[in-house]
Amino acid sequence: MSKAYVAKRLAMLFMVVLGVLVITFVITRVIPARPELLWAGSHPTEEQIERARKELRLDEPIYVQLYYYLKDFFTGDWGVSWRTRQPVLQDIMESLPATLELVFAAFAIAVMVGIPLGVLAAVRYGRLADGVVRVFSVLGASAPVFWIALIAQLVFSSWLGVLPGAKRVDESVVIETGFREITGFMILDSILQLNAAVLLDALKHLVLPALVLSLYPLGLTARMTRALMIEALNEYHSISLQVWGLPRRLVVYKYALKNVIAPVIASLGLSFGYTIIGAFMVELVFVWPGIGLYAALALLSFDYPAVIGCVVVVALVYSLVNMVVDIVHASLDPRVKL
C-alpha cells in the first residue's frame, strides 16, 4: 500500500464529508420549519423569537450561514444542540460509542455465524441444511428490523423476562461497583477496570439488540458466503488441488474459503450503511443511548446542528470502515495492489 494511495483516500474522505455537510446543511435550511421557536423557550414573545433568530444566524442569507457553519465545523465547533444546549460534538462523542458497540457486536455475530452457515450450506449444496440456511438468510435479510426488535423485546423481555429490554446497563450496578467511563465502550471499559459485574450486566443488555441488528448482515453474509463458496468449489483450481491429492477438507476450509472471505468482507463494508440505519431503529426500540436515539430526537425537534453532526459522523464512519475494508481486501488478495 503506497503513501500516495492513503493520501488519495483521505482526500476523498474529506470531499465526502464536505459534500455531506453542504447537502444536509442546505436541506435543513430549506425545509419550512421554525427552529427559533425551540431555542426561544416556551411561550416566547415576538422579541424573544427575533433575538433567537439572530443568535442562530437564521436572519442571514443561506450562503453566509453555510460559510460560518463550515468555518466553525473545521475548527472543531460543531455548534450547540438547540435541544440539549450542549456542544454537538460533545453530545455525539458521548453517544457514538454506544452505537459503535452495538454495530460492532452485530457485525461480529454476522461474521461468526454467517460465514460458517454459508460454508455449511455450500458444502451440503441442495440438501436439507442448505435449504434451512437459505430460508433463514432470506428471512434475516428481508424482515423489517423495527418489527423484529419489537417482537424480540416482547418475547424475551416482557414474556420470558430472561433479558433486559432497554438501556445499556443497570444504573444501580454501575453505582454500586464504582464503574467509570473511559472510552465510552461499556464492554471495553468494564474489562479495563476488571469489573465483572458491569461486564456481565452490559453483555446481558447488549445481547438482544445486537442479535436483532445482526440479522440483516448475518443473512447477507450467509447468502454471499454460500454463493461464493459454491462458485469457488466449482473453479478449476479446487478440482486440480483435489486431483493432485489434497484432502477435500483442506481444499474447502483453507483454499476455497480464502477466496470467499475477501469479497464477503467487502460486501459487509457496503452493508455497514444499512446496519447503521437499522441501529437507529433498534436504539429507539431498546432505548439504547446511542447516536440513533440522539439523531431521532434531534430530527423530531428540528435540532439542525445535531442532525448535521449525526449525518456527518455516520458518513465519516461509513467511509472509514470502507477504507479499512479495502485495505483488508488488498492484504488478502495478492492481485489487488493499492
Binding site: E235, Y236, H237, S238, I239, S240, L241, Q242, V243, W244, G245, L246, P247, R248, L250, K254, Y255, A256, K258, N259, A262, L332, D333, P334, R335
Partner: protein, 324 residues
C-alpha cells in the same frame, strides 16, 4: 501398469443420461505413453478424469475397471480415493492459470501437497520437496517461483509448476489433458519434451489427451482414437499414423496439414459428432463414414485385433474372425 478394461462412464443430468465413455480398454506400461485422440465431446476428458479418480459427482463408471498395479480405482470409497489421488495417479489440465488458487503462493500449494502426500510435517522438508519437484521439471530459479503467486508467472511456467505439483507425490500414472493447447508453439514443444523425459526417468505411465494427432506422435508409443465415447482404433503410433485402418482415423489424418504434400485444400470430415443423448444405431460413425455399408446401420462393430492393433469397424470383421 495402468489397465483400463471395458470402461463405461455416464453422466446423469436433468436432460437425461449422457453416455460419455462406452467400452474402452487399453493398457499403458511404466515409462510408456498412450495418446487419446478425439474431437471435443468424444469423451476423452471424462476418460482422463475416470483414470485420475476424479469423476464429478453426477458421473458414474457403470461398467468396467481402471486398475493401477492391480488396484481398481473405481471401487474405492471417498477416503481411499483421497489417499490414492496424487500418490498413485495424478493429472494436469488444459488451463494452467486456472489450475492454481490465485490467493496462495506456489510454495504454499506445493508445500501442502508435500505435507499431505509425502507426510513431511517439517516446513523446511516440505519446501525442499517442492523445490526438488520444480527442479525436476526444469524450472529455472525455483526458489523465486516458490514465493510467487500464480498471476506472477507465465502460462508456460505455470504448466511446468502444474506438472511439478502432479509428480511431487511420485504417482505411477500421469494423465495430461491437453496440457499444451493453451500454450504457444515453442512452449508446446518444451512441455512435450519435458513429459517425455519425465515418463522415461520416473517410469510414469503417461496418458496424453489431445485433439491433435500431430502432437500424439511426439510423446506416445501408442494411440487410442476415440469417437463419441467409443474406442475406434488402438495401436502403435507409427502404424496408426501411417496406415490408419478405421475410416475415422483415416479422415482425421487427412485433416492434418502436411508440408510434403504441396498446396491444396484439407479435407474436413463431413457432418458433426452425434448428440451423446441420441447416438445413432449400429456403428456410431456410420452417418459420416465414406465406406458405409448397409450392415453398419444395424450392427455395432466389436473391437478386432488386426495388424498389431485393435480396430472397431465392420470393414475388418470378416478378416480375422472377430478376435478380441
Amino acid at each position: 501398469m495402468l489397465e483400463v478394461r471395458g470402461l463405461h462412464v455416464s453422466y446423469y443430468t436433468l436432460g437425461g443420461v449422457i453416455r460419455a465413455v462406452r467400452g474402452v480398454s487399453f493398457r499403458v506400461s511404466p515409462g510408456k505413453g498412450l495418446c487419446i485422440v478425439g474431437e471435443s465431446g468424444s469423451g476423452k476428458t471424462t476418460l482422463g478424469l475416470a483414470i485420475a479418480g476424479a469423476l464429478p459427482p453426477n458421473a458414474r463408471a457403470s461398467r468396467g475397471s481402471v486398475r493401477i498395479d492391480g488396484a481398481n480405482i473405481l471401487e474405492l470409497g471417498p477416503e481411499d480415493l483421497e489417499r490414492v489421488r496424487g500418490s498413485l495417479v495424478s493429472m494436469v489440465f488444459q488451463d494452467p492459470a486456472a489450475s492454481f488458487n490465485p490467493l496462495f503462493t506456489i510454495g504454499q500449494t506445493l508445500g501442502d501437497i508435500a505435507r499431505h502426500k509425502l507426510g513431511l510435517a517439517e516446513r523446511s522438508e516440505a519446501r525442499e520437496a517442492a523445490l526438488a519437484a520444480l527442479r525436476r521439471v526444469g524450472m529455472p530459479d525455483p526458489e523465486r517461483v516458490l514465493d510467487a503467486y500464480p498471476h506472477e508467472l507465465s502460462g508456460g511456467m505455470l504448466q511446468r509448476v502444474a506438472i511439478a505439483a502432479a509428480i511431487l507425490p511420485r504417482p505411477k500414472v500421469l494423465v495430461a489433458d491437453e496440457p499444451t493447447t493453451m500454450l504457444d508453439v515453442t512452449l508446446q514443444y518444451q512441455i512435450l519434451k519435458l513429459l517425455n523425459r519425465l515418463k522415461e526417468t520416473l517410469g510414469l505411465a503417461l496418458v496424453f489427451i489431445t485433439h491433435n494427432l500431430g502432437i500424439a506422435a511426439e510423446v506416445c508409443e501408442d494411440i487410442l482414437v476415440l469417437y463419441a465415447g467409443h474406442m475406434v482404433e488402438l495401436g502403435p503410433t507409427d502404424k496408426v499414423l501411417e496406415e490408419p485402418l478405421h475410416p475415422y482415423t483415416q479422415a482425421l489424418i487427412e485433416c492434418i496439414p502436411r508440408i510434403d504434400r504441396g498446396p491444396g485444400r484439407l479435407k474436413p470430415i463431413p457432418g458433426s459428432m452425434p448428440d451423446p443423448r441420441r447416438l445413432p444405431g449400429g456403428c456410431v460413425f456410420h452417418p459420416r463414414c465414406p465406406h458405409v455399408m448397409d450392415i453398419c446401420r444395424e450392427r455395432d462393430p466389436r473391437p478386432v485385433a488386426l495388424d498389431k492393433r485393435v480396430v472397431s469397424c465392420l470393414l475388418y470383421n470378416g478378416e480375422k474372425g472377430g478376435a478380441r
